[in-house]
Subunit: 237 residues, 2 copies
């Protein structure tokens, strides 16, 4: 049980109730839920206001906890942001690696299927409000100060993105290593823009397309990106 302070917010638990190590299994169930609730609230606020525009006070209010409790779990605003980002980022990354591994066994290892394996884990996130908040947060990560963004982006994604660069090089022997990196980077930019609730397409195309149809999104994106990846090498001109 969490302690509840006079404002009705959940505060730092009493010392005697505190688990020896809050990151180890065996901690009281209630604490685990509060931690997730803080992450859920922070995810939406960071997504809407960015890192600099978010205060721990706002997060505390939204999660109905004290700021002291946020500090207890996450140490600082950056610590909170880090956990918000890595919670889902690592999951996406793991799922991309799993799908790539399965694809390799399946005998259907080609450019289009590798693109689909890369995009699908993020497309699934678009189905929920919280998932959409994370995609927005991720789309704005690269506009955050480098000291906030680089470490997290590398930690969450470098290993899986490099695995995809290697995979594309296997199925696209005509492109150079540099081109594979370029094209994967452009793929990431294209999908992040299209997935991040920008509503650019709706505004521009007004009624001509249906960007809410996940199947259409995946088909349009994968057609464009697959062809882009397959483009002739610029060195072969």
């Amino acid at each position: 049980m969490d302690s509840v302070n006079i404002s009705g917010r959940r505060g730092v638990p009493n010392k005697r109730r505190e688990p020896a190590n809050k990151n180890k299994p065996g901690r009281p169930e209630g604490l685990s839920n509060v931690r997730d609730e803080i992450l859920d609230a922070a995810e939406i606020i960071f997504a809407d206001h960015g890192y600099a525009g978010t205060t721990l006070r706002e997060v505390a209010e939204a999660a109905k906890v004290t700021q002291a409790l946020i500090n207890y779990y996450f140490g600082s605003k950056f610590g909170l942001f880090e956990q918000v980002f890595l919670r889902r980022g690592s999951k996406i990354s793991d799922e991309r690696l799993d799908r790539l591994h399965e694809l390799k066994q399946s005998g259907q290892y080609d450019v289009k299927n590798i693109v689909l394996a890369f995009l699908s884990p993020t497309l699934v996130l678009r189905e929920t409000k919280a998932g959409r908040a994370f995609i927005r947060l991720q789309a704005r990560l690269h506009t955050e100060p480098p000291e906030v963004s680089y470490k997290l982006r590398n930690e969450a994604y470098n290993a899986s993105t490099k695995a995809y660069v290697e995979a594309f090089r296997e199925v696209l022997p005509h492109i150079t290593e540099c081109e594979a990196y370029w094209r994967v980077t452009l793929m990431v930019g294209a999908y992040m823009y299209a997935f991040s609730d920008t509503h650019r397409l709706e505004e521009l195309a007004g009624g001509v397309c249906n960007p809410e149809d996940s199947q259409e999104v995946l088909e349009q994106m994968s057609a464009f990106v697959t062809a882009g990846l397959q483009a002739p090498s610029i060195n072969s001109k």
Copy 2:
């Protein structure tokens, strides 16, 4: 001459020195420069901290003016942001339209050249520090609240982007109108990510590519995007 207050900052001009209409030609040169200096300072701060994370106080400090002077010229933080965005956004848009018009006359009206006409005005901006700040600002615009972003994005870009959608439909008769909108949106996402100083490529590819070489950037981007635009229609499967 601007008035200078005791803090050494330039403040709101005395009434008798104020031009009848500050947007008309004939205003004192000094005033025009201060307005531009405020826009220059604001551009970098908005680019680094986002809309919500920027205060007029920071802009006033950086531009060495009073907050009152910023309000005098721009009315509000949104008014300032609007002018920062439209100053360059409208120029990019006009240049894209001019290049498209010239291309149509030139007899070299094809997908690749239309892509180059679209991308080039932004690539030129990468050459200067202020231009790079604008690209970052623009890249984060779509993560700003809709009430800030939609109006400006539409005002600056809708007309020119729609002209490019039409141009691509002329040279790519096999794709539907919806596909043309999709692919132009994906092109925008890809170039904004690649151009916006994310350093993603350097981090990922460490030394394999040279994203500082503008010619390489343009060739890699246009190869990917041109092939993406030319992809078979998803309806033709």
